[in-house]
């Protein structure tokens, strides 16, 4: 008994080794592993540049008859106010019509006896080129601010007292279980972001590597090598070896990427700690003015404050078993068909539950501990993505445990079912199996 087990393990190991080495030695693998993060960053930068490139500075002439705005209104990179002399209105209108550089003319009516309503009614914005809705809103805001200040002055109220009235209620929140935990918007954002990244990564990996298992099965089936192998080892050994081999490939790739990411986070985190030391006490408001580098430092700080080993463990666990669960499904699909175009009908079974898990997770993220979140992260079809999405926010231990047990059991069941299909499927040439046939193979 022990000997047989030993032999099976040896066979699986041999197949795993071959699968791993052939895939890792491929040039495409090496290039992808090194290049993917670089490409991701480049892609992000490209989008940022594109957004930036779409920004233009609008020029608005201000014909201020009230004298209230001309020297108070502020230009910036998006909007440039140019004061013009208030007397020649018709001339300016005519110029505006012919001008290619001036986008609009803002005419402010005179202010008489502090009648702001009358001034507002008499004022108008004459548009030459099209200006965006947000630019118009921006002008309205600028004008409102100045009028507000002027009104306060007219009412003889101290401006600082108004500021007191306007002050937001600054609500500090903290966690009763973990007093050190800071619960800020940034904190939420970072965790949300991390959850999404881990979830997408799991989703993509399960699909990409699941399909890789399927291809590998198909390849062996098509070049008929499979018959030679299963005259030496059991089909089950071959399937498991294949799945483990591709798992190792995925983990290798992942380890490289995690190492790269952690190294990046550590470098930025050092920046954060030195910055914090130089800040004077009680200057929290300055945090808002931190530049991107400091922000990145803070983000990595939040990341490292989390239970990093648990997050990594949960991620790797669900990634691994989710992958085994789905890739055995993919292996069965690969064995049941003759070529890749025939796989589509069946791969839906493997993709749709994952999609449900993923889009479900996006909606549960606002209430990660709610019932939907619970069920999605416990049911094995969706738990690999949903649990990973929730884990940065912290998940009760019993839920993690329950989900893990369920996932292990259902992975074993899926492997068992897949092995039954695989055993028959790999020797079937020339016809695509129907669902009915698959069911028959499973029952046999």
């Amino acid at each position: 008994m022990l000997n047989i087990l030993k032999k099976i393990m040896k066979n699986i190991l041999l197949i795993t080794k071959r699968e791993y080495l052939t895939q890792v030695k491929k040039k495409s693998f090496i290039v992808l592993t090194v290049l993917a993060p670089v490409l991701m960053i480049a892609f992000g930068a490209f989008i940022a540049v594109m957004l930036k490139a779409n920004e233009t500075q609008y020029t608005v002439q201000v014909l201020d008859k009230s004298g209230l705005f001309a020297d108070k209104i502020q230009s910036d990179s998006k909007l440039k106010y140019v004061s013009v002399t208030p007397d020649k209105e018709q001339q300016h209108l005519k110029n505006l019509k012919d001008s290619e550089t001036v986008d609009a003319l803002l005419i402010i009516a005179p202010l008489q006896a502090e009648n702001f309503e009358a001034m507002e009614k008499g004022s108008q914005l004459i548009i030459n080129n099209k200006i965006g809705l947000d630019t118009r809103q921006r002008i309205v805001n600028d004008l409102s601010d100045i009028v507000r200040t002027a009104r306060i002055k007219a009412m003889n109220i101290d401006e600082s007292r108004i500021a007191e009235l306007d002050a937001d209620f600054k609500l500090k929140s903290s966690d009763i279980h973990d007093t050190k935990k800071i619960d800020s918007d940034l904190d939420f954002g970072v965790k949300y972001g991390l959850g999404m990244i881990l979830m997408y990564a799991t989703f993509m990996f399960i699909i990409i590597y699941g399909v890789r298992v399927m291809r590998s099965v198909l390849e062996e089936k098509n070049n008929r090598v499979v018959e030679i192998i299963i005259s030496s080892v059991k089909p089950f050994d071959l399937m498991m070896g294949k799945i483990f081999g591709v798992t190792l490939v995925a983990l290798t790739q992942f380890m490289v990427w995690i190492t790269m990411a952690l190294a990046g986070a550590l470098v930025l985190n050092t920046g954060f700690s030195t910055m914090k030391d130089t800040l004077p006490a009680g200057s929290e408001t300055m945090v808002e003015e931190l530049d991107i580098r400091q922000m990145a430092g803070e983000i990595s700080h939040i990341l490292l404050e989390m239970n990093v080993p648990l997050v990594i463990f949960v991620f790797l666990f669900f990634f691994l078993f989710g992958y085994i669960f789905y890739s055995s499904m993919y292996a069965a699909i690969g064995s049941a068909v003759d070529n890749e175009t025939e796989t589509q009908q069946f791969t839906l079974f493997a993709i749709i539950p994952l999609m449900v898990g993923m889009y479900g997770s996006i909606t549960i993220i606002n209430n990660p501990d709610g019932p939907l979140g619970f069920w999605l992260s416990v049911i094995p079809f969706t738990s690999p993505v949903a649990m990973v999405a929730r884990i940065p926010f912290g998940v009760p231990g019993w839920q993690i445990f329950l989900s893990m047990v369920l996932l292990i059991l259902s992975s074993l069941l899926m492997v068992f079912i897949a092995a039954k299909i695989y055993r028959v499927g790999i020797l079937m040439y020339g016809n695509k199996a129907t669902l009915k046939e698959l069911w028959k193979w499973i029952r046999n």
Binding site: T22, R224, I230, S231, S232
Partner: protein, 305 residues
């Protein structure tokens, strides 16, 4: 060496029968031909020996032992549909398959060296399979099959894909293996190689065994008592009478030689003494059917091809 008893195998819940009550005995150290048209059930039988599929009924014994997992190491199998990994080097591939059969790496390496010298392919070790021609790949396939020194070698259409030179090379190796005590099952429908190599055959058609036995006996069994005769200086009148009496339609005369075929079921010596009276016997030969004729005949008799 191998004894199969009453093997039955069906597919599709009994709707399609691949083998029906199939029994053969392959003697130790022989080359055994498994003949039959495509779809007759040869591959199913081979897969059963290789434990790729299980029979519905019947048993396979190897040296008197019920077929079991450990026998896998004693069997070498080259399927008709050859298969190797295209993007793996020849060396890696050979070691991999050797290890799958339970060899140690060193053993596999040692054995591979021997075969590479035998087949003049030692310069291919580091090449990828995709760089080799079909015939070259076939040689590698052969090495993969025999690397672990199997006691029972199963070759499915071993000569397809080889040019005549290499086919001969492989043929010699097969005979060599036989000399060293390997039992070989050869599945083919190329009859000339059967006559040349096989000691015994079984003919399968429509999932049943049609006949089996030693090649000589099988051919004997199918002979139709046709004799091919050439007479010199035959007396034309006597010859004409003789041909008429025996119902011979065609005969060929050239100069003083007359050639004809005759079917006679009585004693050959009686026939000869009759012929002596007609003319001088230049040649007298009983026509024994070739395996090809046996094959076509037997398959034709059972009604399908």
């Amino acid at each position: 060496m191998l004894r199969a008893e009453n093997i039955t195998k069906t597919y599709n819940a009994g709707k399609k029968t691949a083998l029906q009550d199939f029994s053969i005995h392959v003697p130790e150290g022989s080359i055994y031909g498994l003949l039959g048209p495509n779809g007759a059930g040869k591959t199913t039988f081979i897969r059963i020996i290789n434990q790729i599929t299980q029979p519905d009924a019947g048993t396979v014994l190897i040296r008197g032992e019920q077929l079991k997992n450990a026998h896998i190491r004693d069997i070498g199998y080259m399927p008709e549909e050859r298969g190797l990994y295209k993007n793996m080097t020849v060396g890696d591939q050979i070691l991999y398959f050797g290890e799958l059969k339970g060899m140690s790496k060193n053993d596999a390496l040692h054995e591979a060296k021997y075969w590479f010298e035998q087949l003049n392919i030692d310069q291919w070790w580091k090449k990828k399979l995709s760089e080799l021609s079909k015939g070259m790949a076939q040689k590698i396939q052969f090495v993969v099959t025999v690397l672990h020194r199997p006691k029972l070698l199963i070759l499915d259409e071993p000569f397809s894909g080889f040019d005549p030179v290499n086919a001969n090379l492989i043929k010699d190796q097969i005979l060599n293996l036989k000399k060293n005590g390997t039992t070989i099952i050869l599945s083919t429908h190329r009859m000339e190689s059967v006559e040349e190599l096989c000691d015994a055959v079984a003919l399968i058609n429509n999932s049943r065994k049609v006949l089996d036995g030693k090649v000589f006996d099988v051919r004997e069994q199918f002979k139709k008592n046709i004799f091919s005769i050439t007479l010199a200086d035959a007396d034309p009148e006597k010859l004409e009478n003789f041909l008429q009496m025996n119902g011979v339609q065609q005969h060929h005369s050239d100069n003083n030689l007359s050639t004809f075929e005759i079917t006679r079921h009585d004693d050959q010596n009686a026939l000869i003494s009759q012929l002596v009276q007609i003319g001088k016997i230049r040649s007298f030969q009983e026509k024994i059917p070739s395996m090809n004729e046996v094959f076509i005949n037997a398959v034709g008799n059972t009604g399908a091809l």
